[in-house]
Amino acid sequence: MTDDEIKALVLSELGKIAPETYPSQIDPTVELREQVDLDSMDFLNLMIAINEATGIEIPEADYPQLATLDGCVRYLRSRKA
């Protein structure tokens, strides 16, 4: 997957959990939870959704690495998404 494809995938999963989000307004360098009204359950569900969509196992201890959109891209790329 290209970086753009990964980004689109994360935003699409985010859109299912928090449909009120405008993907174009997300700053990829800022933590998602600072920009989108996500509680801890939403964030957990996002991690589960990304795992299901990509097949990549994401251990809970790695969650902080996926806090930003750029972080998601870096992490999923390193895990060969």
Binding site: E20, E34, D37, S40, M41
Partner: protein, 586 residues
Amino acid sequence: MRWEPITKPRQIRNVAPNMPDYAKAYAEFSWDKARAQLDGLPGRRGLNIAHEAIDRHAAGARRGHLALRWLGRHGEVRDFSYADLHLLTNRFANVLRKLGVGKGERVFLLAGRIPELYVSAIGAIKNGSVFCPLFSAFGPEPIRQRIGIGDGRVLVTTVALYKRKVAELRASLPSLRHVLLIGSEQQIREIPDAHDFGQLMNEADSRFEIAPTDPEDLALLHFTSGTTGTPKGAMHVHQAVVAHHMTGYYALDFHPDDVFWCTADPGWITGTSYGIIAPLTHGITSIIDESDFDAERWYGILQDQKVTVWYTAPTAVRMMMKVGTEVIAKYDLSRLRFIASVGEPLNPEAVVWGQKAFGLPIHDNWWQTETGGIMIANYASMDIRPGSMGRPLPGIEAAIVRQKAGAVEVVTDSGVEGELALKPGWPSMFRGYLHEEARYRKCFAGGWYLTGDLARCDADGYFWFVGRADDVIKSSGHLIGPFEVESILLEHPAVAEAGVIGKPDEVAGEVVKAFVSLKSSFSPDEQLRRDLLGFTRKRLGAAVAPKEIDFVANVPKTRSGKIMRRLLKARELGLPEGDVSTLEGA
């Protein structure tokens, strides 16, 4: 499965528990003696929470002691001694006084865990005003309702939260006279009809004398939810501090050198009673973390801040369990002495996991917004029966009761389920629901306060939680009223009927799930489902809005029109539907 009791050593980390003998402490306790642990306002002018929390320490040997250490999201650290907090809260009390905000008037706070929140809380109480926190993850609707019901006179919030959630509501909040914004001068200047918090603080005098305060004067307003109707504002008075202090001593085992960390947000009562007040009345150090849950960040805080007493919540414990114990081994948590949890019952697996992960069991305790402070607890000195909420605090009489033909009878047989009830009279008991006398009176019968929780009591006096007596949803330790969520769903043009339940969830306890039937011109599809989800999230905020929405042909109701949430829940879980004789169309 039966869980073996966890026995305790006489001392943990060379510290003897404050209550070595539960039975003796319970028998010898009196509220007068508990009250004598506090100073009261100088010159016998009454009792004020702010004086007990800050001023008495600032005037004594603890003045230079670290009161609050704030840890910012991006690694910032700000320290506040008791002397610092004394001056800052004096300033805020003067800010209110200058604005003409008086005794009993409600000062609302809408902010994340930032230092200004803590200063404003105590400063407002110092001024004789009433502190009312709003959870920062609330959407505009819960905010509007609460400020409206609470006749909020002042709102302190950040520029970002104001723009996102409050600006659009301003016209619908006639009681609100002053909005104080935290942010840059530049940002605030652009917002009409708002004050600059920082500027007002800078201009304010740092000397302030607390006016005479009756122990029964209103100090705190905390909103909670019932099954039906609007949120209820539980009123608490200044002498609640006697219970905050006492429970800090017995249930959380505060010792003078403790570093305490309560992970709860002040938007909920735990984050106020124990995230602000109790550690300060004991003159100890309290840690505040601005960030949300992150297992490794949390272990780092426990280690680096040398936390000795830690008060957290089952949802967090269960998330830590998912991360596993291997990570914990990297951290030196040898200072940690006592771990407690509240918000919803802590499952036995989690209690025992604590023992494996930290070498310390997790002490569950029980209380609610209405009780103001911890009522039933597992203590440092007492064996733990995993899954039990423990035994009543000294000064608290608890019982299992049953209502029969309008009368209340105490269930004396052990192990028999009934409603958990408390004998009224403790200092932090709520004094009413604001403007809702009838709802308040309904909480009492036969000389008992009825908690709405179902429980049983074993032969040795340990209480065990069974479930809620009503349809209130408990998600991540927060109460959510199904009616509040249903009302918002009904505002959507496509929705004909809505029923909302708590769906069991292994991490959050319950998550909010909505069932909606649509008006005939709308058809159920994924786009509409998302539209509804986004609609409710925007109005209610992530903490209250449903996580799941299902379409149904119709929402089951009784012939008198009451939504049968129990039936929705039974169907969701594939359980027997029970008595459906009152079902409409049955």
